[in-house]
Amino acid sequence: MKGVIAGLEMREPSSLDEALSAMRNDPSLVPLAGCTDLYVALNFGTLESTRFLNLWSIDELRVIEKSNDALSIGALTTYKSIIQSKLVRKRLPMLISAAREIGGAQIHNRGTLGGNIANGSPAGDTLPVLAAADATVVMRSADAERRVPLTQFYTGYRKSVLRADELIVAVEIPSFSGKQWFRKVGTRAAQAISKVVMAAVRSPRPRIALGSVAPTVIRLPMTEGALEEGAPIQEAQRILMDEISPIDDMRSTEEYRRRVASNLLGRFWAETE
């Protein structure tokens, strides 16, 4: 391991209230959940923070429930719990598809939905699902709770509206109809980070979200509008090209991502007819 732990400090709150008051008193505290991203940085020696807040034992953040008519998923819910949840299977099956492909069993058992959101990678596999589902991120500080739509949560590459004294406590997904579709394209079936990832809903106004093709997860409002108005799929695929801004990086190229994103739209349309 390249990281050095001797100078690191960990606080261990036993309740959400205790965690939030610790964060109010010390905004330098970085929350730790399943550590499947954060400990990779620690192992690489690229972790800049030195003070951490261990959330793992705060079970009140692990609840999956119906709240009013929305599906509410606690931030500490692991991918494993999502995969096993009958409520998620009924309401948001595309989230189960995403959770299954996010890594092997070891990652399913530790990685959390709130962590995927907080990590804010443009390749985060649950993020297109949440964007296509019009999900709301519920954040809490010691003083107040607020809700922001996932599509407005990110302000740039790995930047979000989450304040240093706030925790993501849950995600709320309103009830909706229409066939759900998810596809991740990576180097191999297991463990790979996405080259392109799409989640979509076939409703009168289709909802389409893509990951790994822009600095943040994005919805495609122009493409959605064209399909709603009955444009042929080839026309929608041309519009999609203008709505995405993929780059060349270690995992793929701009050209490949453009071609694949367009193909995924075609596949979504054909498979949900």
Binding site: M1, I5, A6, L8, M10, E12, L32, G34, C35, T36, Y39, V40, L42, N43, F44, F52, N54, W56, S57, K80, G103, G104, A105, Q106, I107, N109, R110, A189, A190, Q191
Partner: protein, 140 residues
């Protein structure tokens, strides 16, 4: 800090952010758990926490407080999975083997090939080509 290690209650003094992998190998002297990639990709450091497979390189020691940790040493050496790996040639260089066996353990007896492939998707082996490993897990 108190936790259960291979069915015995233990009290281990280590930094709360120390990787479970390092605590097992250094403080507890259990070197059966191997370090491969150190980033959760290869599964060589797989152990069970409360019967669920995890990468010990991604778990802060503080997160096993009051939990049950099972390592390859906890299987005792004559476990059906260990015998099947030996009989089927599921182990070659041996570095991935403890992690493979620990990841296979939650799959239960004689799992289907699909279940084995899914259950071991987080474990890499560069020697066997996986077929002998799958045979061993399906048999055990």
């Amino acid at each position: 800090m108190i936790f259960t290690l291979n069915a015995a209650t233990v009290d281990v003094d280590a930094h709360p952010m120390k990787r479970l992998l390092d605590v097992l190998r250094e403080e507890c002297g259990l070197t059966g758990t191997k370090e491969g990639c150190g980033e959760g990709e290869c599964g060589a450091c797989t152990v069970l926490i409360d019967d669920a497979a995890v990468c010990a390189c991604l778990v802060p020691f503080a997160q096993v407080r009051d939990a049950r940790v099972t390592t390859i040493e906890g299987l005792g050496g004559d476990h059906p999975l260990q015998r099947a790996f030996a009989e089927e040639g599921g182990a070659q260089c041996g570095i991935c083997t403890p992690g493979m066996i620990m990841a296979a353990l939650p799959l239960g007896e004689k799992p289907s090939l699909r279940k084995v492939r899914e259950g071991l998707a987080g474990n890499l082996c560069r020697c066997t080509g996986y077929e002998a490993i799958y045979r061993a897990v399906r048999k055990a």
